[in-house]
Amino acid sequence: MNVIGAIGTNLAALALWGFIASAVMATLLEGAQLSGRTRMSLPFLFGAFVSGNRRSAVIFGYVLYLLGGWAFALLYALCLQSLRLHSVWASGLFGLVMGLAHGLFLIAVFLPLLPYIHPRLATDYDGTAALARLEPPGPFGLNYGWATPLVTVFAQALFGVIFGLGYGAAIATG
């Protein structure tokens, strides 16, 4: 069976474990926020792309976040299928590596560059503006608290592991 066909066969597992991994990641990030370790909220930042209203930004943000979770789940699944990793532990390990890489990309590239593409994020070069803006995340997201890079990378790694283990188990059991 080709990769696409295999994905089609395991679509329910992909949707389920993509959802679970996203939910766990969101819980971890929100928990870290509430405990005062980081002010980072990826769903809110995503939502603010499309809306300047806080309420809408939170709602859209979580929808986008879940859709993003499924998109990454699909990407991970494609990689797993194409590498023919059919053992649960190998899938979990692969998920961990992918998650770590994803997290590192987020903090080292995505967050610092985000103000240049985000319509509502300020940059360090801005002066007084007529509209309210969001604080930029800064290098490694450190503006949002010292634990931001750790929490972000850990959350992405957890996403990878959970999805890898869950989806891997679905593949392994046929």
């Binding site: 002010r39 909220s41 940059t123 007084t128 608290g145």
Partner: protein, 636 residues
Amino acid sequence: MWRRGRGEPVPDGAVGNRSPAEVPALLRLPVRPDGYLPIADYAVIGDTRTLALVGRDGSIDWLCLPNVDDASVFAALLDRERGGHFLVGVSGPAEIERRYAPDTAVLITRFTTADGVIELTDFMPLALHDAIGPMEPARRMVRIAEAIAGNPRLCVHFAARPDYGAVVADPRPAGQKSWVLADGRDFLLLQSDVPLAAPMRGTLVGDKRLIAGEKCRFTLSFCRNAPGIIPAGGEAVDRECENTAGFWRQFCERIDYHGPFRDAVIRSLITLRLLSFSLSGAVVAAATSSLPEAVGGSRNWDYRFCWLRDSYFVLHSFLEFGLREEGSAFFRWLMVATQSTAPHLEALYTVFGRTDVESHQIKSLEGYRRSAPVHRGNGATGQLQLDAYGAVLKCALVLAEHGGDIGKSEQRRLRGFADVVRGEWTLPDNGLWEMRGGRKHNTYSKVMCWGALDAMVQLCERGSIDADAAVYARDRDVVRDAVLRQAWNGERRTFTGAFGHDFLDASVLLMPRLGFLAADDPRMVSTFEAIERSLGHGAHLRRYPKKLDGFDHPEGTFTACGYWAADYLARRGDSDAARRRIGDLLAFANDLQLMSEEIDPENGEQLGNFPQGLSHAGFLGAVFALNEAEAKKAGR
């Protein structure tokens, strides 16, 4: 949680056109005798979630974020050197006048110097829309300095000291004209039109020579547990000022009062509204913690909580002056907050209705004029204050009299409170004043137990509560008999402060107001005279005799008690004396007509937490009684 400073060197850049060598001169603060301003020199601004005290010299010396009962960011009020402050003002000699913009909580301070005139406008924007709508910081404070004439020099001095001065926070520059203090929890942003420099860790200074008509704006924004929001600047800030003033003017338009002392009535109601907490409807006792009841003494308490004993006076003030929305919101809060402890009541609750309030000493602050210790939290939790039951049930009655509905679950809870009173009114309690030295059968508490049962009877008779009025009426009469027999000292011809004791207590002057005894009853007349003789200082009254509470430092006169005396006089029909007394007491409010808890009878200085809700509610109650008395006299 704040990032502690790293002691970074002073930036190489100059402050405006000043050389780095000149910067240290800007560190000099306006001179204050012994480092502290008199309490009366403060004004209050707020957004009904938190409040700030602004000194006459333009220094914000008290601000807690995000809510009124959270830790301070500025607390120079309690420690000039370590507390933190945010000064926008002038450095040299100046003539200073201040006022609120009419019918608002927008403060305007005018500095007249040899070089020109600066007008400083201070306010906290309110969330006037769907609160989680637009992207705005959770809290904001705005200061706008405008040169009115000449070329005055504006000085800025910013020293945030979060967590009650325990942290010397080190702001970092962020973008143009902005400085940030942030960690994983909190984000505090200062936007300043005056270029600032950091001559030493944790302190920003700057100055600017203004030309007539020039404006400099300063915005302090705060966010917690979320990405920080950088608010709009420039003219958007001026629009915020208009919107905020507009909110307060609309609030004042709803005040239904056109009698004597109208300006002070408006200011008192604005102050009570500022002390109310919009996120829940609670009203805190005062904006501050640990302002001393005697300078140098240790009677320094945290008043940023809601005492149920005050609730009747506050609710009465809102409703009798036409503020039904605020009164209803406060009553709903009372019902929600007391849900967790029903059918029993605690003495005090937090703004969110919690009762697990512990008292801690804050070692990092020396206290106002070295009046230590400084407290966070309050040790009155766990006390038995039977008067609280009367206060809550009387609130329900006042609300019902003003057309408010009492729902089924609220009826159940109120019945529960009344039943507790029936069972426990015979217990000694800590009383209204929370005195040391064990519990007593405090007269005021017993009168309020009577008030609770009387309110219950009236609520039943009105049909507001579904219960048998006769049951409560029987017990009410028993309590009344007990008070009339046990609290009356026939030899001294006075009601005493507690059964079996012979000390006087000014709170018994409230008996007529509570409907317990007619004001012209000979027993009340002689009690009033005895209290005037023993506890009076001009128009003011001490609440009880010196040293009765076990403290060495004698406290001042209690502002609310003076107004209770005026209330009594008005109810006795002596409206001229009541009017005179209110006028005399009001003369001790500050220039903005704000009142603290007490007055030092020796020098007239304000003492205790500031501004104090009970003092303002006491004033409003006296004015209401006066107005009623004058209307009665005029046959209206």
